[in-house]
Every structure is written in structure tokens, then in C-alpha cells.
Amino acid sequence: MTTAPAQRKPSDYKSDLKPIWCPGCGDFGVLASLYRAFAELDLDPTNTVVVSGIGCSSRLPGFVTTYGVHTLHGRPLPVAMGVKLANPELTVIAVGGDGDGFAIGAGHFPHAARRNIDVTYLVMDNEIYGLTKGQASPTSLTDQKAPTTPWGNLETPLNTLAFAIASNASFVARGASFNTKALTELIVQAIEHKGFSYIDALSPCVMFNNKQEAWKELVTDVEPDHNPADRTGAFDLALRGGFQLGILYRELRPTLDDKYAALIERTPDSDIVAMMDSFSARKGTAIGKPVV
């Protein structure tokens, strides 16, 4: 008989690779929160997959002892969906940057959300492109100066929380790298949530957009009387100025993998032999295409 393993510690999730982030980068705080959340949930690294795109933040899977997929710029969500649907036993976490998720990857987000794939999506939002050296991102502020906006950003930033709520994400929250305790707790709840959970984690880029101090001024906790089941209320909260930390929206509805499991359950079993026979030239199928 094997003895039950002791509860895992945060350090058990730390890989041999040293993070390549700049000293002080917010992503360290997010990573630390992730380690702690994993430990709190005692996740088995063998059954956990962290999927990312491309960017500073997207290097995260390398620093974790779980399975990982460092995909292409903007593609973590559809890859994560494939992982989860192929093996619903796995805990799947997608991570990445604001550019990865909401510029090139924006088209995948609403579909992951409305399908309610059982994946936690943790975005390290620094309102900038870190890896490519500081260009504006879809969450950069209007008038912000950056190498591609030397005269000031002409665009209105995307409110990713409002976007998530509108897209039918079933769990929408915001945390911050400089508040690891709360962020850890949010990650725990997001992973425990059955369905698509989105966390916007403020995570300052000290190199190209160091707003840590400014952001600390702007954060407030979601008020305790906020009702996370109220979608319009959550939307209203998302539009409010400053950064509301906490869970804005939460809803329970069947996940995509559950629905597929039910579908497989409800379709009568068949196999290649029967399928091949249905094309028999002599026995003949009924005229027309195969129907269910």
C-alpha cells in the first residue's frame, strides 16, 4: 500500500528553469500566486496542463512542473480547449498577456467563453507589449506614448472584464500581482469553478510601462454586497473607474466537456465495421446523405 502523499507545497511546482523576467516584473507575483493556488488545491502536476501564447508572460509554463504548452501568439485558448476535450480529467489553465489575449487572440475569447470550456484563463495584464519592447496593447490607455504611438495612443482601451461578461464567460474576476494573497484565492476559485473562468491580473511591466504605484492607488475591492450572479450589475461594475479587485461575475452552467460526455452517452454505440457496411453497394443506403 502506498501512503497518501503529503499535501504539496508551492515550491513543489517550481521548475528548474529560472524565470527570464526583469527583476521586479509583475509576472513574478502572478507566478507566486499560481504556485500557492496549485498547492492549496494540491493539484497533481501530472494531471495539470498550463497553456500559453507568446509574450513575456507566456513563458510562464516553463517555470512550472506541470505539463505545459507554449503555443503561438494568440492561440492559447483553442489549444487549451483541445487539451481539455481530449482528456476532461485534466486541469487546464491558459495564461498569457493582454496583447496575446486581446489583440491577436481576441477572436478566440468569445468562443471559449460562450462554449464554457472548463479552462481557467489568467491574463497578466501590463497594458503593454513587454516582449517586443513596449508597444501599445489593446488595454493601453488613450494618449499613452509607446514606440508605435510616439504621438500618443489614439485608441480607446478594451475593457476586458466587460468584454468577458458580454461574451458569456461564466466566471469573471480581477486580481493584481502586487496582491498575491487575494490573487491566489481568486486563482483557487477560478480553477474550482466548473466552466470558463477569466482572471484579469494586473501585472506591471517594470521595463516599459511601470504603473505599479499608480495602480496601487486605483485598486479597490469589489464591495461585499455585489451580487456576482447579476450580469448587468457585473457589467456596470466593470465599467466603473479604477480597478475592482475580486469576482465580478459567476454563473454555473454545463461545461462543454460535460455536454460532449452526455452526447457520447446518448448516441448509440457503433464502430467502423457497421459504418463501413452502411455504404454497401448492394444492400444500399437509402437515397440521400446519412442522417442521424
Binding site: L17, P45, T46, N47, T48, V49, V51, P61, G62, T65, T66, Y67, G68, V69, H70, T71, L72, R75, P78, V79, A80, M81, G82, V83, K84, L85, A86, N87, E89, L90, G107, H108, H111, Y260, L263, I264, T267, P268, D269, S270, D271, I272, V273, M275, M276, F279, S280, A281, R282, G284, T285, A286, I287, G288, K289, P290, V291, V292
Partner: protein, 569 residues
């Protein structure tokens, strides 16, 4: 004298019953014991526009759709205008009496059929036009209508009235062409116990995927590949697998890669525009060494092009598409039957060599219906990927092995953990951009394909194996080339065809041997720039005679025979 095969062409406005008439005839022919092959053209719009359905049926195996039309059925005037010049010298014509005017010199071999009128009288609506038309055809070729009646009974099992009306329409149609009846009599089929199936190339692919062990299919609708996704959506859950209609082709392949990472046998299907969008991810799969199968049903290009026409113009993109140099396997099945087997190969190669495999078919092959010998399922092999089940300590996901194939950890397997990545990396998958590592890893990744270049892949030969006149083609042109080789052999020529079923990696030595004694190498293909010709020249370094055409139509055996004949002149 009865003919061994007949070519029947039905033509009219899309939506008028042309397609259903063709389908009924094809299924009836199959059920009646004939070999058949079909060919269709139809507009890219949903409604309206000319469409055409050609059925060739015969007592022996049929390899191409045929050139000269023995029996032309015109549903409207445009059908006559577009197709009269495809008629054989003694070809006969059936036409809707109200809609078509036939020139005097054809009158003696043309018969009006009261399609609309009889359909309404008997069936109460013009829907039964197709049955009238089919009945008239059956009369001309002296085809026993029993199989059709059976099919009708099955279809309308619970609607006796409808079934009766359809059968009545069929008989009425037969009477319409009474004085031509039997004029194109077809030889009765050979009695046989052999099991045969009737299916399209796309269906053969879907079945091949199931046979190979498909678990996950992610796709996005596109003509002419959609019905692979559709068929699998209906059938795959019954085997425990699933299909997802994704938000686009990028998401389709991304999800396939995710599923495969997690251990599933995974595939997608698309046509050119989708393949273009997948370029970056194909490179990722090659770099991260994640098995996956991508079916590309080529259509007329470039761009949106000719969505419902056939072309073989994605070859170079399949081989080289995507920045950088990522290994991949490119397979081109040569027939509907081969669509099944090539798909099985595709999955097996993907799993064994841990690469993306692109299966190149085309609109013609994917949508044509063909009677084929039922694939012997006991011959299907399922290869599994090399996994990291038994590793101790940290898995070397990209271990440098002799054959380049490394153990792949699958989530759930202890100690298999690694990070799949498109960044250059060391054996552990850790980022490493040193000159040495990049060189080493490119060698490792490409080395995996060596066996396929050097004998492990099965190719297709027909005729002489070291001919004077050598024909090299790929994919769907095999059928007409095969028939043309038969004609040329009958002419007494030394001729043979070689069809590489695996085009990437290219079987350089095999082609060199095949062409060793050739005075002429003809390369027919359906595209504009002669892609295969360029490939053969670039890889093998021999002079070839490029015979490329890009009219959106398949070759006929006669086209190819003429090329061969020209070559010896």
C-alpha cells in the same frame, strides 16, 4: 451490341432535380451490381446557376468519369447549349419537352420527355421530375429498375403514397423514351459475391479516419471539405470521439494540436483558404513535434477562386507553406479507395513520426461517388506514438535519437512533464537558441522523415516500371492516366505511370529509377504553373514535359492518351 460502360450526363439549373436524379442513378447502378464513377459541376451559389451530374457505369471497374457522353439529359435550354458538344458521335439526347429546343440535325437521336408534366400529374408536384428523368434513362440503357424501386421503398417506408407515386413516375419516364429504349443497352454486370461499397472520396476519408482511431476532429465548414466534418459530427460520438465546429481554421488546427498534445488522434479538414490560414500552426506542429492530420480538399484558386471546381494547386503550399522550414508529410491519395487507405497512412505517419501530415485531395476526388471494393478492415494497422510512459526522472521530450523520434510525455503520465514549444529548444524542451542547437535540432526533426523518402512509403505504379514514355502525376489524375496507359499499351508503346503517394518527403531515388530509361517524362497536373513538374525538376534534376492546365475540370483518359501520343511523334 451492348456496351461495357455508358456515360450519362444530366444537366440543368441547380435545384431542379439534376443532383437527385444523378444520386438515384448512381445508387441504383451500385445496387444493381455495376461499377460506377460520377463527376459533378455546380455553381458556388446556393440557388441557381448551371449544374451537371455525370454518371459512368459499367461491368468492369471504372477509373475515370469518361469523356464522350452516350446519353445527355437536358433539364433546360442552357444544359443543351453547354453540353451538346460533349456528345459522342452516336450519343442520344433526352430533354424536357417544354424547356428545350433541339436543332434539327440532332432530332433523330433526341427525345422529349414530359418531365414537369408527368411529375405533376403523377406526383402532384414537380418534385418527382427526377424520377421521370431517371425512368427515361433506364429505358435507354435497358437498366432494370428494380434496385431503384427498392431504394424508393426504403426511403419512403412510412409513406406508401409517396413511394407509389415515385415508382409510377419512374415507369412513366421509361415509357417516354420508348423508341430509344435499349439503344444504349449496357452489358449486364458480372455476378460476384465480392463486397463493394459506394462512397465519395470525402466519405472514404472520414471512414479512414475512424478506422485509424480518430478521437478528436476540429473543423470549420468550407466547400468542398465540409461534409467530412458533417459526416463525422453524426458518426464519431458513437465511437466515443467528438467533433467541434470551431470559430475558424486557426482555432480548428489549434484545438487539434491541443487534443493531440493530450494524447488524442486528431485531425481537421479544410480547403485552400483554410490551409493558408493554418500555415503558422503547421509550422508549430512541425517544431513542437505534435502529430496531427490536415486534410486539404483542393479547389480552384487562388483566393476564394472557384469554390466548386477542382484544381491541384495547393501542392507547393502543402510542401513549403509557412515560414521557416518545418517538417511535414504530404500524401496524395489516387482514388476514392485510396482515400481510405491514405487516411489510415496519414494518421499512422503522424503518430509514428510526430509530424503534421497533410492529405491532399481535391474537389473532384472528394465529391465524386465511386463503387470500390470494400476495404478489408482487418488490414488496417493502427500505429501508436512513442510515449514516455517508463521514463525515470525528467523526460527528454526531444531526445536526440538515431531516427529522430523522441518519447512524448502525455498528460496523465507521471514524469512525462515537459513544455511543448515552437521556440528552438534543447532535448528537454527548454529554450536554446545557440547555433549548434538549432542545427542539431533541425537535423533531428527532418531526419524523422528519411524512412518515408527511402522506401517506407507505398507508391502507385501502372504499366511499365521503366518505360520509354514515363508519366508522373499525383492524386486525382491517376484514374484517367491509368486508362490512358492502357490505351497506349494497346497502341504498343512502352509507357508507364508513377504516382508518388507521399510527395513530401519526395521519393527522389524511386523517381530516378522509374525514369531511368525514359526518353520523355510527362507531368500532367491541374494547375497553372506546373507545380509537380517544378518539384520533379528541383528534386530529381531531370527534364520533364509539364502538362499543366487550370480549367477547373479533371483530365479525361483521352486527354492523357493524346499527350502520350504527341510525345512519341
Amino acid at each position: 451490341m451492348a456496351r461495357e460502360s455508358v456515360v450519362i450526363r444530366l444537366a440543368g439549373e441547380s435545384g431542379e432535380g439534376v443532383i437527385s436524379s444523378g444520386d438515384i442513378l448512381t445508387q441504383a447502378a451500385a445496387r444493381g451490381g455495376y461499377w460506377t464513377q460520377t463527376f459533378r459541376t455546380y455553381p458556388a451559389e446556393i440557388r441557381g446557376g448551371p449544374c451537371m451530374y455525370q454518371v459512368r457505369m459499367g461491368k468492369d471497374r471504372i477509373y475515370s468519369h469518361g469523356k464522350e457522353v452516350d446519353l445527355l439529359v437536358c433539364f433546360n435550354q442552357e444544359a443543351w447549349d453547354l453540353h451538346w458538344d460533349s456528345l459522342a458521335a452516336d450519343g442520344v439526347i433526352l430533354y424536357d419537352e417544354t424547356a428545350v429546343a433541339i436543332p434539327a440535325e440532332f432530332q433523330d437521336r433526341a427525345r422529349p420527355v414530359r418531365m414537369e408534366k408527368l411529375a405533376k400529374e403523377i406526383g402532384g408536384s414537380s418534385r418527382a421530375k427526377n424520377m421521370v428523368a431517371v425512368g427515361a434513362v433506364c429505358g435507354v440503357i435497358a437498366f432494370d429498375t428494380t434496385p431503384i424501386e427498392e431504394l424508393v421503398m426504403r426511403r419512403y417506408a412510412h409513406k406508401a403514397g409517396v413511394a407509389d407515386a415515385n415508382i409510377a413516375a419512374l415507369q412513366a419516364g421509361k415509357d417516354e423514351s420508348a423508341d430509344l429504349n435499349g439503344s444504349k443497352e449496357i452489358t449486364p454486370p458480372v455476378e460476384t459475391e465480392e463486397d463493394r461499397v459506394l462512397m465519395s472520396g470525402n466519405q472514404a476519408i472520414a471512414l479512414g479516419a475512424v478506422a485509424a482511431g480518430l478521437d478528436y476532429f476540429g473543423g470549420y465548414p468550407i466547400t468542398p471539405a465540409s461534409d467530412i466534418l458533417e459526416w463525422l459530427s453524426a458518426k464519431l460520438p458513437a465511437t466515443g470521439g467528438i467533433t467541434v465546429q470551431c470559430e475558424d481554421e486557426i482555432a480548428s488546427l489549434a484545438s487539434v494540436i491541443g487534443a493531440s498534445y493530450a494524447g488524442a488522434k486528431a485531425a481537421t479538414a479544410t480547403s485552400g483558404p483554410g490551409l493558408s490560414l493554418m500555415s503558422e500552426l503547421i509550422g508549430y506542429a512541425g517544431m513542437a513535434e505534435i502529430p496531427c492530420v490536415i486534410i486539404d480538399a483542393q479547389r480552384g484558386g487562388p483566393s476564394t477562386g472557384l469554390p466548386t471546381k477542382t484544381e491541384q494547386s495547393d501542392l507547393q503550399h502543402a510542401l513549403y507553406g509557412g515560414h521557416g522550414e518545418a517538417p511535414r508529410v504530404v500524401i496524395a491519395p489516387v482514388s476514392v479507395e485510396d482515400c481510405f487507405w491514405a487516411t489510415v497512412d496519414a494518421f499512422n505517419y503522424a503518430e509514428r513520426f510526430q509530424v503534421p501530415v497533410i492529405l491532399l485531395t481535391d474537389q473532384g476526388l472528394g465529391t465524386r461517388m465511386e463503387v470500390i471494393s470494400k476495404p478489408d478492415l482487418s488490414k488496417v494497422e493502427q500505429w501508436q506514438r512513442k510515449t514516455a510512459v517508463d521514463v525515470e526522472g525528467q523526460a527528454k521530450r526531444y531526445e536526440l535519437t538515431d531516427d529522430g523520434i523522441s518519447p512524448m510525455g502525455l498528460p496523465g503520465q507521471p514524469n512525462g512533464q515537459y513544455v511543448a514549444t515552437g521556440i528552438e529548444h534543447d532535448e528537454y524542451g527548454h529554450p536554446d537558441y545557440t547555433p549548434e542547437m538549432h542545427t542539431t535540432m533541425q537535423h533531428k526533426r527532418w531526419r524523422k522523415l528519411d524512412p518515408l523518402a527511402n522506401g517506407a512509403a507505398r507508391h502507385e505504379y501502372y504499366g511499365n516500371t521503366q518505360p520509354d514514355i514515363a508519366v508522373i502525376g499525383f492524386g486525382s489524375t491517376y484514374g484517367p492516366v491509368r486508362e490512358a496507359v492502357d490505351m497506349a499499351l494497346a497502341d504498343g508503346l512502352s509507357v508507364g505511370a508513377f504516382y508518388p503517394r507521399v510527395l513530401g518527403p519526395f521519393p527522389v531515388e524511386t523517381v530516378r529509377e522509374f525514369t531511368a530509361k525514359a526518353s520523355r517524362v510527362i507531368v500532367p497536373e491541374i494547375n497553372f504553373t506546373g507545380q509537380l513538374a517544378r518539384l520533379v525538376r528541383g528534386e530529381v534534376g531531370i527534364t520533364v514535359d509539364s502538362q499543366a492546365k487550370c480549367d477547373g475540370l479533371p483530365f479525361t483518359a483521352e486527354d492523357i492518351h493524346e499527350m502520350i501520343t504527341e510525345a512519341v511523334r
